[in-house]
Symmetry: C2
Subunit: 310 residues, 2 copies
């Protein structure tokens, strides 16, 4: 029943989704001004003090969601904003989530060439002591070319971790490069084809590989199209909730068993205390819990609802 | 004569190139096993100890090159590999280089959407206290789309810093995405066009803007083609030296005054002590100095030689 039995990332993640009966992943995107006032009282905006608030805030969210969801996805940018002290807070948050038996997918969108890509891969991929950051998964960027994905994929396979390659992102301007039409099809489609090849080559018992794809919830048609073109690839689907993606929009990302995608929600959950429907609750943690359960319910109205009867 | 007079990144960088009479930038890519043995004696491979070695090594390189070159380019990946302690070493190296009156371009290839891109921009762009890392420039990745470059460009313009957008990278597999032919031309060409528009809109007295482009020395034809297509854009040219790019290969990156490009060399300089032509020297720092001067001489055989008579 635990998700630690397998050394294969895809199998481990799909097992965690089955155990928690939901594909929902909670994004840890701390933004100082949106954090509950209680945690900010008397805190200056100096980097070390804000880093401490980020740490506490994320720890409390992990406490709330650890029994509910398979994974969390910390967003590196918000921690990096605070300099090296922010990075220490990020390291602590990753450790805390791992201790809480959550899988950790770091959203850092790294990418570089040759031995530099190898350094990024070694930095993040694989639980401690396999890497110094100790993550289960990492988002990576394909612009530099197919050869630059290799060091990440190799390291992921060696360490039982996984990567999610950006294929079709959730932002309004993602079309400007990703949807450019080439002689072999759209750019994102070509990246998707390559990712599927890598994923198929690392396929586990679950039928899914360790090389995933980021495909935004805000593009439901592309999501469904890519689902059928990429049968071995787990999708990390951002844009659900605050960015406008609905449960109906992510429906196309699931296979017939309700597997194959994990769906991230960040702001809609972690800042739920500020949403009209949750302001009446006794404390902000209850708002986070309620928002998590509500998101799980909405996702259960899709094919992902099949997980509930697994 | 100093490069601090202007608040405009392009002007500041071109002034620094003119003052130092060279477009050479030294890349700080510490790799533990290649660092001079003297610095590694008695050091374990634990992250805190290695981070300390990286810090010392980079400090010494900065001491050697600070009077010679306009800028250094730390590579984030090698520091990230060591976890949060590595990030503290990176922060110290950036501070030390700024104190040494060098411009600092962080090679971190960041990229994300909306407010997350804004967080990365706020993290790195602008000297302290404008940002917590305090860099003059940052490399960024265009895959997520044109809208995702905006937060970086806006922040760069606000803080007198700059960005270098990946256009055509130096790795052998860069063709696999960047050279895909679309109905409007090759992918890298389209990215280049957009970068040129952004750069032209931020043009300073030097004729160059604050939005640069990364164009690899290993693709001399594309470099020359992009130079004429992107007259307002400063190029950051990696791949010179250890990656095989020669002075002749980078020639096409310069304008008629020997400006318009900065050329990075990392391994060829910082690990010069291990190269046959420098092993006879009294110490590794002398090898770094000699390799820097030799690289400057090689670049002076190109149009960049015009800087010497400025």
């Amino acid at each position: 029943m635990t998700n630690e039995l397998s050394d294969h990332f895809g199998d481990r993640l799909m097992a965690a989704v089955r155990v928690k009966k939901t594909p929902l992943v909670v994004g840890l995107d701390p933004r100082f001004k949106q954090i509950p006032e209680k945690l900010r009282l008397g805190v200056s905006d100096s980097a070390p003090e804000v880093a401490e608030v980020f740490r506490k805030f994320c720890f409390e969210i992990i406490d709330v969601v650890q029994g509910l969801v398979p994974a969390v996805k910390p967003q590196a940018a918000f921690f990096e904003q605070l300099g090296a002290r922010g990075m220490q807070a990020l390291a602590d948050v990753i450790d805390y989530a791992v201790e809480a038996k959550l899988m950790v997918i770091l959203d850092a969108k790294r990418g570089d060439i040759g031995s530099t890509a190898e350094a990024y891969a070694r930095a993040f991929l694989g639980r401690k002591p396999k890497s110094n950051w100790g993550c289960d998964g990492l988002t990576i960027n394909p612009y530099l070319g197919e050869d630059t994905l290799e060091p990440f994929v190799n390291r992921a396979n060696e360490t039982g971790s996984g990567v999610f390659v950006l294929v079709k992102t959730s932002n309004p301007g993602s079309h400007s490069l990703q949807e450019k039409e080439t002689h072999q099809g759209k750019v994102y489609g070509l990246v998707g084809q390559h990712v599927e090849r890598l994923s198929a080559a690392s396929k586990g018992e679950s039928g899914y590989g360790s090389v995933g794809a980021v495909v935004g919830a805000t593009y439901p048609e592309q999501l469904a199209e890519l689902r059928s073109a990429m049968p071995s690839t787990i999708f990390l689907v951002p844009g659900f909730g605050a960015q406008g993606g609905t449960a109906k929009d992510v429906e196309g990302g699931f296979d017939e068993n309700g597997l194959g995608s994990i769906v991230n929600s960040s702001r809609g959950i972690i800042f739920a205390h500020a949403k009209p429907e949750y302001t009446e609750l006794d404390c902000w943690q209850t708002a986070v819990e309620k928002a998590t359960l509500d998101s799980m319910d909405r996702l259960a109205e899709t094919t992902a609802g099949k997980l509930r009867s697994c």
